[in-house]
Symmetry: C2
Subunit: 280 residues, 2 copies
């Protein structure tokens, strides 16, 4: 990022956050908690959700369109609140845009590599994130003495979206997905998809209390705060009452998004607007 561009960014500009749909709201929730003065422009790509079963080219093309949309709102930084898009598109986007951009993978990888005691880390995520081996890459850059075991869990997203956060069916599917990670005796498990914090208690119950669960949403909000501080971009004043601090955009189904979003974010999402993302 050039110094010139940095100088143009203002502290009270919003943070742009995007995801394939609703999962990224678990990241938004953490940002709201940890840096409550920040404004947020959220985009959920509900017309093309999910990303986790799609290819790198497609996810990168979609991510570029979304970044162009977010930049029309003069965001001061962009958070890719989607593991799949972070895995596939972060490195390209970092080169292409002039504002700071962070993903959810690196912060989760960093913490996992710090907390493991036996050097065996599990990652559960979408097919795409697991296939990209991106967590392995980042973790072994920090700590060479660990082994990473990835497991794709394609049914977790639909189960979460169906509302079965605590349900015998989700228990059964989770037991199947997690069995091999238990056999391998991992001591740390990364919830590598932004939907998964919503079934954290199911995963925790099956893995047992000796396994530390890492929630990249939490770590990302922490890293975002550090980044903004370091760049002098942290918003010091609380937005005025009546100012629209949190704005939500989707590519489809704004009403349905609002209903689901309000089950995740207790702050109350007053409105969500549909835009045609293919035009960006």
């Amino acid at each position: 990022m050039s110094q010139e561009i940095m100088g143009m960014l203002t502290k009270d500009a919003p943070i742009g956050v995007f995801d394939s749909g609703v999962g990224g709201l678990t990241v938004v929730r953490e940002i709201m908690r940890q840096i409550p003065n920040e404004k947020i422009i959220y985009f959920g790509d509900t017309a093309r959700v999910p990303y986790g079963s799609k290819s790198k080219d497609t996810v990168t093309r979609f991510s570029r369109q979304i970044v162009r949309f977010l930049q029309t709102h003069n965001v001061k930084t962009i958070v890719i609140a989607c593991n799949t898009a972070s895995a596939y598109a972060l490195e390209d986007l970092e080169k292409e845009i002039d504002i700071p951009v962070i993903g959810v993978v690196k912060p989760g990888a960093k913490v996992a590599s710090e907390v493991t005691r036996n050097g065996k880390i599990g990652v559960i995520a979408t097919e795409a994130t697991i296939g990209s081996k991106i967590y392995s890459k980042y973790i072994t850059e920090i700590n060479k003495d660990v082994t990473i075991f990835g497991k794709a869990c394609p049914l977790f997203v639909p189960l979460v979206e169906e509302g079965l956060w605590q349900d015998p069916v989700t228990d059964e599917i989770a037991r199947r997905y997690l069995a091999e990670l238990i056999d391998i005796d991992i001591d740390t498990l990364i919830l590598g998809c932004t939907h998964y914090p919503l079934i954290r208690s199911t995963v925790a119950k099956i893995m047992g209390e000796d396994v530390t669960l890492v929630n990249p949403a939490y770590e990302t909000a922490r890293e975002l705060k550090e980044l903004l501080k370091e760049k002098g971009l942290l918003n010091e004043k609380q937005p005025a009452l009546g100012e629209n601090q949190y704005r939500f955009f989707v590519s489809d189904g704004a009403e349905k998004f609002k209903r689901f979003a309000n089950s995740i974010i207790k702050y109350g999402i007053l409105s969500a607007k549909t835009i045609n993302i293919e035009e960006y």
Copy 2:
């Protein structure tokens, strides 16, 4: 359709078939069985799958792009092999294009209205198809003395795509979805999503042998044959050996599509090609 356009269509032109992804292959399978001389151009919108949770506007926009793509292959007719797209886009497309276009909903509705004895018909489908009430509309146009009970089954598609065609989890989810239809005592059940024929045996087991299952894929191929006969467009000659009779295109993940497709169509899908559908 104008007489002029009809005159330009040739018997040996291919049939265009499209779906949001792989589900439409259950329709392709029936077309291959019932009219084996026909050539097929299939498009699966795997970059934007699924459609069943998306809005009418979005699904119609996607369908228009796909129709433009299929028309570049000079198809003689178009089959919307997706219940959601048939529910949302068929009526608009019929007005907009100059070749015959048929969906999967009407043929299924017609047969269901004929086979019911007690006048109670169930429909299982995606949220979008159920929300559109399209089966009710078509069925009551034919037979006013029936009652239609719709039930959205959002987990069936991901369960099928995960390969759990016969599995205790699929049984359990199906039991939950179907319980109210059993209580209501329907005697006919429409498999209103092109993925569902793949879990037909699970549904049949739960519904019991007194309930007739209607498979719109089968009925659509039958109606397509009648339509082609009536228009003088049935291909009378078998395509030459070495001619590429069946061609498959997707918007993402051609290799993955091919693997899944070959589990549905035993003919062997030799190749699938990825195109950028947003350019159409």
